[in-house]
Symmetry: C2
Subunit: 408 residues, 2 copies
């Protein structure tokens, strides 16, 4: 099925090369298609790695192994297979990953556990080892490519290539961070058919990189949802080559640690939002802001209950400022709330305050706001000082068409 | 919007009158429509009552008051308003309910707290007291009607009238149980825009009626889901007039207690399943059976994760035996599971066993099964002995059409 580009798509940004990182793509032809579907990234010696992975109890072998591999903190290569997730394939799936790690480590001269593998696509079919082997052979002799080619090669049902870039100053040294991501459905907190990679030339100790990535994830990838579904393969990895020459960041007390963490979070937020912008069938990008919760975590839970509500999402698809459905979603979140303190605004206009419709509520500017592509929904619970932002998209006929027809 | 009758609809059953119960309907015209929308049920003196209500933190005044009223255990009347839920209307909503309780109690000679009120429909608009008053006046002089008329009068977006009937023998006495229900969307565990009422001529002590209703609810209303959304008004009430003359059931040790509880659960299960059969846009009725869980509660949680997954529901809408999405849903349930022990069957045919696709999997009978209207999905977790059944419907373009257009 050929999908039209999402109306919420963003053009691929200009992104600099990262010293110590080389990108290549090849055609393993995991599916019957004519496109690059194997991405091969080599990383110079001394590269630090960190990772966050799906919470699924049925994770793929790639995820199980990746969780172990990041503990060593060192990476030399990343292989991403698109078209076959290799999930739910038992020992045969694990063998396929081990074969890739062996082949790549022998070719570039590193240990197998420094080779990270991700796969995305159909569940239940073991990754064909012959196709993987030939694809890697082809990649080894291919010319390096740019970020957009790599972003396209890791895609499956994505309708546009997704990348983000930020810089930070550490001491006197400017460092660059570049990220690519794929994902468009099965997106939920704890992530979902989402594979994201951030590369930086900054020198960062693995333990700090892990801490910064986890903090950034909690505020970005864990705050997006398309359909509330979580995949068995979600992975976000960060690689730091150290080629920029900055004094290595070891902890939050190191110079530039905050600046680096902020830039990392910026890249992660942009990548996460791009996934929502490619949400299956999405026609509107929705920001849900929750304030007045008893805690930030509680605010996020209420925000996700709203963002995951099919009734809220269909109302916004229909350009209906249906705050009654927002009340419903707040009520079912299971978090502290009080009907008579609840306030709800669309596009900055309060429709309800203190548990009742606003008397002189002017629906005209709200109706105008809902006609746009960028929707703001604000909920104040009136309970405390917790706040959070969550991003989602509307639920349309497009989502049904894609998912009742596409065989994942 | 005029909705076509659900393809999964069932004809309204023959249901006997219940001694001590009189049904009447009237036109309060809460909306601009031409139909009965106020239901008035009178109950003879001595009627016991029990109730279960939405868990929403933003419940309507009707629910808040109902939770208190059932504690007294006595009921003399039930009023159901359709077209306006009176939810999220602050003190004005409460005043409207109190006015109805006053008017009815004065008319039939009981205390106000013996008058139960439910309302369903638009949120955020206080129930108009003048329309309620005139509607009740009209009902007081109307001729009694039958079950189907009452089932229609409590409906909102329902596409067919829903009723269920069962009998039980208590000692030598045959007792009858008749139930009606409304609801078609916003249905989830802890219930949702769902109003259900069961009437029996059995003599049952209020405390036992409450216990039996809670047990039945946990296995029926709490095991259905249409879209995972929970309304602010869900209510199930049971009324027992005692007119059958059986020795009153006081506890599980009373003769006939088990038989009565079983009949009550039968009526509740049938009513709950009818709500799923009227699920917005539903084209298939799906039974999800989970076995091998660490506990029954865990099995139910896994079943609901599957039944609430948009990706599973759209796959079934597309008649695709996509067990990969079932794996995904099991993985995200947050319950104990092991990828390599998981087995999945459609229509009794195992597609995957022990964490891998079945080698000689024959898709033909599965494809045939998925073309039908009644879909069976079985998941065995291989962990323990917990089991549960959960009922849902598929997710289709019809759901989007109804909810992106209908202003609730």
């Amino acid at each position: 099925m050929e999908l039209a580009t999402s109306p919420l798509a963003r053009p691929f940004p200009d992104m600099p090369a990262i010293s110590g990182v080389e990108l290549r793509v090849a055609r393993a032809q995991y599916k019957d298609w004519d496109r690059a579907d194997l991405t091969f990234v080599t990383l110079d010696e001394g590269t630090s790695v960190a990772g966050v992975f799906t919470q699924s109890a049925c994770a793929s072998s790639e995820v199980e192994m990746g969780r172990d591999q990041v503990k060593s903190g060192a990476a030399r290569a990343l292989i991403v297979n698109a078209g076959n997730s290799n999930a739910f394939t038992g020992y045969r799936g694990r063998e396929a990953v081990e074969a890739i790690m062996q082949q790549v480590s022998a070719a570039i001269g590193c240990t197998p556990d420094q080779v990270f593998v991700s796969s995305t696509g159909v569940i239940g079919v073991p990754l064909p080892q012959d196709k993987a082997r030939a694809g890697i052979d082809a990649a080894l002799t291919a010319a390096p490519c740019g970020w957009e080619d790599a972003a396209l090669a890791i895609s499956t049902t994505d309708t546009f290539a997704k990348g983000a870039h930020a810089s930070a100053i550490i001491g006197d040294t400017r460092v660059e961070l570049c990220g690519i991501i794929k994902g468009s459905g099965m997106i939920a907190p704890d992530m979902a058919t989402m594979l994201g990679y951030v590369f930086t030339d900054a020198g960062v100790a693995p333990a700090f990189l892990q801490e910064a990535l986890e903090r950034a994830s909690a505020r970005t990838y864990s705050c997006i949802t398309v359909d509330g579904d979580t995949s068995t393969s979600d992975t976000v990895l960060a690689f730091a080559t150290g080629k920029a020459g900055n004094a290595r960041i070891e902890s939050w007390d190191s110079p530039g640690a905050d600046a680096f963490a902020a830039a990392l979070e910026d890249v992660c937020r942009e990548l996460a939002q791009l996934v929502v912008r490619d949400g299956e069938g999405a026609s509107k990008f929705i920001t849900v802001r929750v304030s007045g919760a008893v805690s930030d975590d509680s605010a996020r839970a209420v925000g996700l209950a709203i963002a995951n509500s099919p009734l809220v999402k269909t109302a916004i698809a229909g350009e209906d400022a249906n705050w009654g459905r927002v009340v419903m979603a707040v009520g079912k979140a299971g978090e502290p709330a009080d009907r008579d303190r609840l306030s709800i605004a669309f596009g900055g206009v309060w429709a309800a305050r203190g548990g009742m419709p606003v008397d002189d509520y002017d629906e005209a500017p709200v109706a105008q706001h809902l006609k746009g592509e960028e929707i703001d929904l604000t909920v104040d619970l009136g309970m405390g000082h917790g706040r959070a932002a969550v991003w989602t998209c509307d639920l349309t006929h497009g989502y049904i068409s894609i998912n009742a027809d596409y065989r994942s």
